[in-house]
Symmetry: C5
Subunit: 265 residues, 5 copies
């Protein structure tokens, strides 16, 4: 196949829009992101199932050991590379799960983080190429975390660099791009333009107050993005269901930020 | 398969609890760990067989050359990577035995040391991925020695870093995690939490006095660990059978430390 | 096969002459090369189709996602390696598309950039060898971007170094060589000589005024080159069709520069 | 197979004892080890055939080109890795012959040098693993040159480090260990102990006077070694047959040093 | 096979003697070696065909594109590795042609340059091993350019180092060794001795006056060499046919230097 199968795309995107719940932070950031509830993958699975997330992002181990709780209920994006943040080295994220194994796990999409501009990017590109082409064999969509980072990237939310990262994703064959927010709507519009026919999802990032996050979500949707991949803003929230539904209102129902905020009342 | 076979798990864990005798020190530490008795693998095998260890940890060479003495009598965990401690470099442990070969050796589980946070961790992750996925093909459980170490790990028993190491094991698909003791019960509880559905075994470490070691064993069991993987505290002891039975009392019979110490009388 | 198939060569070269439209800049240079029109691959495809380009140069992602708009209408050269320009390292361009996948994409030729003289050239040569030999299996022509660059190349348009780069292309089995202009006709003649039986295309490079670019095109054709691979001089132009037709006049009809410039009137 | 075939072991070891003639010095040390006779492999072959060596150690090229002279007459140990001593780098010995090819050459055993403690040891271990496992497929014994060396090994005949090297050989699956002499009988006893069920051969090293070498041979046999792998002490000798027979007397007949020295009269 | 097939050896060596025309300089040295005639591979092919060269040395690209002019008329040695001289790094020559592809090209022998003593020699040895063993599968002779070079080789024509380089070739399984001249007959005799059953060819090197070159040729033949592999001394000559025939007279007819020089009259 030369494109992701509609079998998967239509599960992940409703009317072309998506809302993924990201939970790769256990590997990427470690216990510091967690409190007494959200360290438990089942807590996250429950949030995903109670709300209308169109995808759940897990690394291999969680996908394996908790599959009876989520399989068949929410689409699975297997994040096939990842790294912890203990070593302070130029960014590189080794492959932790083969595409074949992700297929066995029931993946509906493959996730891969590319640290654009890293001194180790060449090695990553090599791995991405193989992963992307193997994913094509199964018709699986490829979601690229397009993250410029490292000594040559002084500011990883600089609109130019975010736009370049998005373009790299388009050029090398990703189908969906997860990018950071550039800080304002107009610069994000350019990011979406550079992404061409790729779908663009905005990363949630650090937990912020709901209004800020929802406004950002509204902004990116207005300039052509296809949704969000959000983690901490949901599962670190005291009211994860309210956040989830507010996001859903904006993305799928076109609600205003004010309207969406009513979910918190 | 997407999980270890019960064929193996039920041999290694009794009522969900395990007690492994580790003897990978010949490669890891060299002759300095040995006296005139315990340099001999048969001495260790005899300890394992006289007591109720649920697993024996060997590197390839010992597993090969001494198999007639232990095979079929005690489950075998083949430690598939290892290194000596002569070169003082950032930690990395090359693969000394393929999974296929471990299977020929009759392995009931695969052991792999991951130096979490090492500058060479990416290479190790690459190897771990292949090993874990090959082990799955045989239904073999994967035991991860989750050992944060190297220039970026100032204190490898710091509770936060031990917990992070355990989480890494969960995220990348290990089934059983061998971790160091964090020094107190409550911090170890968090390690067990972060490990999710992985089973946690506490490493024995340097030989200490029996009471200290047994207290530690009691503590970890009380906060959710599944047992120990112990070496020097047993086979460097003047009374390895007493230590072994005392450990067994605590892990499998829920004995108090005081009760268990009676084995020494 | 030991040579490219005429099936492909006769599509790419008319009377032995070629005019390729290059659009690999999205990856190589990023958004800075683009304005509000030409960031869009469809804008470039339209230029190619409205004029008589004998080849369109795309990286994998564009070749995949935009294929319904160009496939069967203009020959496709898949650039199988590429890099962005964020990291400032010695030049090396990793493989972003396998030959097998390029074949699935419908490639009529394979493009590969070799940074001749780079400290990483050995690794690149390794990859080129495999790509060239796989391309032979399909009869696909191999177009080598023969670009001397890096710390050992003080001036990458020095006629001697450009000629050496071309010779490297001949010796390692490229069929078509894309090289930079050396600045004058006589030195370019030597480049063409050194290329032996390889066909030589001149790169367009930075956008210059039409007269300069067309004079350069005239010069290289007069000393034995087979055409151009041009990008920014066409799609950054306010009048891309005029440039395209003027180039066509010179290459295929032997027009003078003055005659060709009439296209702009 | 999980152990070397008796087909080979019984050829290489008589009553459990062995005497190998080593001639890998042409690669390892170069012409400086040779005089006008012993540069010629046929001279060495003749020594091996006139005496009772139970093995002849050659690198690939000699094994190939001189096989008609020795094949079927003396068991062949193919040394599958090797290096010259021109570059002064941390020790690493690349593979010069595959196991498959050694089998074609008629090898009765595989020889491999492991520089224990070298900064490049990890890479070597990787190669050793594959070689050992392939050798097992053919039932071929694996002879490990267990040579601690490099910046982390200040004294490569220190008994502790030699013993550690031997233990590494046991742990990673070698069958026969070639080690350096530690200088005295009692420390060598510990080396033999650490080697467990591996057979230990002492290296000959630099040519010394016959009495010294024979005394060393007597010592190692008395503490459990299985024989020697000797080169320069034989073929640099003015009387290689006398040395060979004296060694044979000690190893196979249990002769005293004084008795063995009568061979020189 | 364990040796090169006579099918090839008898083409390359007449009465055990050879005279190869080397033309790998386009890659190795670049345009600076060429004048207005000899840049053209057809010029070299014509020299080879007009005279009695027993082999023609080409890299892949020339072997491919010019094969209709030489195939079946002169034996082909495909030089399977090579490098340009732009980057000033420690010497390493990557593989530019696989053995399989060389076979498709109709190779009668495989040529490989080994920079003996280079810091990158280990990697090269790895590649040589595979190439030598693959060549054996086809019965193709392996010609080793045994060139000590790099920071650890202060003088690459020092007789000791040239002899060591030749010995390395014998030990690792080359069949024919191309070495540099050591400056005098007696030291070259030792080189030939160290090469054992390998055939030794002397490299031509920089163009020198015919008498000097022919005297060198006479010298090496008298001490046991099997011929020459010559390039610049032939095709940079104003009278390439005279040089070629003079060489032929010495190598194949045992002519004196004086007699051979008559070819120039």
């Amino acid at each position: 196949m030369l494109e992701p199968s509609q079998k998967y795309m239509s599960k992940l995107f409703k009317d072309g829009k998506a809302m993924f719940l990201a939970y790769d932070q256990g590997l990427e950031h470690g216990p510091k992101d967690f409190n007494d509830k959200n360290y438990d993958p089942d807590y996250i699975i429950d949030i995903a199932l109670r709300n209308n997330f169109t995808g759940l992002i897990f690394h291999k181990g969680l996908a394996e050991k908790y599959r009876e709780n989520y399989a068949g209920k929410v689409p699975l994006i297997v994040k096939v590379n990842g790294k912890n943040n203990i070593a302070k080295l130029e960014p590189y994220s080794p492959v932790v799960c083969s595409v074949d194994y992700a297929v066995k796990l029931g993946a509906d999409a493959i996730g891969y983080t590319l640290y654009v501009g890293s001194p180790f990017e060449s090695q990553a590109i090599d791995e991405f190429r193989e992963i992307q082409e193997e994913a094509r064999d199964y018709g699986l969509p490829v979601v690229g975390w397009m993250y410029p980072r490292g000594q040559f990237v002084p500011n990883d939310t600089d609109p130019t660099i975010v736009a370049y990262g998005a373009r790299v994703g388009l050029e090398i064959g990703a189908d969906v791009l997860k990018v950071k927010y550039t800080g304002d709507r107009e610069s994000f519009r350019k990011v979406v333009q550079m992404a061409g026919k790729c779908k663009v999802l905005c990363a949630g990032g650090l937990k912020s107050d709901p209004k800020t996050f929802l406004q950002q979500t509204k902004d990116i949707m207005e300039v052509g993005a296809s949704g969000v991949a959000v983690g901490r803003n949901v599962w670190q929230s005291d009211n994860p269901d309210a956040v989830s539904r507010a996001i859903e209102d904006i993305i799928f129902k076109g609600a205003s930020v004010e309207k969406a905020l009513e979910r918190f009342k």
